[in-house]
């Protein structure tokens, strides 16, 4: 995930910026796991960083700058900037500190003030300008990655429930996305049809091309449009499910694309099953 667009008053090595023009890069690979050895409820992070710029590496070596990893978990109000000594390693976050979306972002940060900052490989537009850098300033920033952290394994099915509503017309249904579980509120006829269809293998596939499809599309739309639903369990699972089939849902911004993505995902249990049953 691209790091947030920030404006700096000095050159910063980062993706998508033309501050450096010589192929300098700052890349990272992270893997996140729940510790099975030391203490449960503890998250372990492995990292490999690669810095392709000699000037910045020299600043790190001379202790004028440092390599840092920033961690943020909004669900648990946890934020920590950890200084690391090597480009590769593993660390543990405090027990019970993170849950939901864990954001990790690598940085090279000035730890002292640096006068005459003039790295190699700068875009020639900078000319020979030398920059005064304050301690704490960003010199390089890598890609921000978000990892879903969950201590209980749940299937997507566990995250959808249905409920009869007397408020709705008998032939209506509506989808509520405002908690960890998606609730499909159904008018009495819809609920009756649901029970009949879900208990009969011949009719079950039709749920996947109707109510389930609507539910997935509505859930995806909420997720993509930034409706403050990212931290819900269904949202994390849905994202994970789509990523498993190689679909980055943040790229699917319009309804037609979302609809097609859902049709592809549910095709096996819906349309293909209908054809298989007929044949």
């Amino acid at each position: 995930m691209p790091s947030k667009n920030r404006i700096y008053q000095h050159p910063v090595l980062r993706n998508g910026s033309t501050d450096y023009a010589d192929g300098s890069t700052f890349e990272s690979i992270f893997s996140v796991a729940i510790s099975e050895i030391t203490s449960k409820d503890t998250v372990e992070v492995s990292y490999v960083l690669q810095v392709r710029n000699m000037y910045l590496l020299k600043l790190v070596e001379n202790k004028k700058a440092g390599l840092f990893l920033s961690f943020y978990s909004s669900e648990t109000l946890f934020k920590k900037l950890i200084k690391i000594e090597n480009l590769q390693g593993r660390l543990q976050l405090p027990k019970g500190a993170v849950l939901g979306n864990l954001e990790i972002e690598p940085f090279i940060i000035a730890v002292t003030s640096i006068s005459d900052f003039l790295p190699n490989g700068l875009n020639e537009e900078y000319g020979a300008i030398k920059f005064e850098i304050e301690a704490g300033a960003t010199l390089a920033v890598g890609e921000r990655e978000v990892f879903p952290i969950s201590f209980s394994r749940r299937s997507f099915q566990d995250l959808i429930r249905v409920q009869t509503s007397m408020e709705l017309d008998k032939n209506e249904y509506e989808i509520s996305l405002a908690s960890n579980i998606i609730t499909i509120n159904m008018g009495t006829n819809v609920r009756q049809a649901w029970e009949l269809m879900s208990s009969d293998p011949n009719f079950r596939p039709f749920l996947f091309i109707s109510i389930y499809k609507d539910t997935f599309v509505e859930a995806l739309s909420a997720l993509v449009s930034g409706d403050d639903v990212e931290e819900f369990a269904w949202a994390r699972k849905l994202k994970e499910t789509f990523e498993k089939v190689g679909l980055n849902i943040t790229d699917e911004s319009d309804f037609t694309k979302l609809n097609r993505a859902v049709l592809r995902l549910l095709g096996k249990k819906g349309i293909e099953q209908v054809i298989a049953d007929v044949n």
């Binding site: 700096y8 648990t76 109000l77 946890f78 027990k95 019970g96 940085f107 304050e134 704490g136 429930r161």
Partner: protein
Amino acid sequence: MSINLKILSEESLENIRNIAKESGYSALFELESLVVEHDLRLINSPYEFDSSVELLIPDSTSWDKNFDRENSLRIFSALPNFLPIHAADERLWVSLAFGNYFEYAKKRWSAESTKSKDLSQLILNHWFCPTSRSRWRDHAISRLWWVGHIANSTPGLKSKEVLDVLYLNSDLINSFLGHPRTTSSQRVSSALISLLHEKYFNVKAAAFNRDRFRNFMHLIDLRSGKLHLDAISDTELRNLLLDCFHESHKN
């Protein structure tokens, strides 16, 4: 006496939420009644809970008589070995708000309107907490725990000092927690609370003012966009916060 608390199952939690959405009057009952009436299920939880801890029932919802400060310490002590990841479990907070602390919640968040729709909204806001923001800001019980947790985990400060500052004014606490990318760092929040305690209590150099405080937090946000506050020295951090304070509080 600590027991392992029984909490609503996920399914039952959603049932009550739905009941509350449809009619506030049908939902505002103690957990025991709701369980019987709506065939809800309670399950064992891993959370230790000291059921002897009672919350002070407020006489009024006014800021100086709501007992939030004392109750935040009480709820924190009622949940030993409790971690921030546990505080994300909505089932627990809903179970406590309808269960052990129902009378407290009803009094602290009493209804001002008799319309069922308004009552529904009140219950959804203060008895339920599906998002992290609702857990630290709105939920009758979990908001108290979060402050208790911050008071007991801010390095270098006594819980009394932290509570002095956070409970000085309702705007202060909302503004403070409303900047989670700044205040979630324990090091930054410690420096920040320490400075505020000094300014508001020790030297009484300033009185709390909502607009000035909001401006103060805004200035810190601006500065932290430019510098990593967690990467600078303690002295630099304090000076930066002082600058922001003086700038926001100058006449």
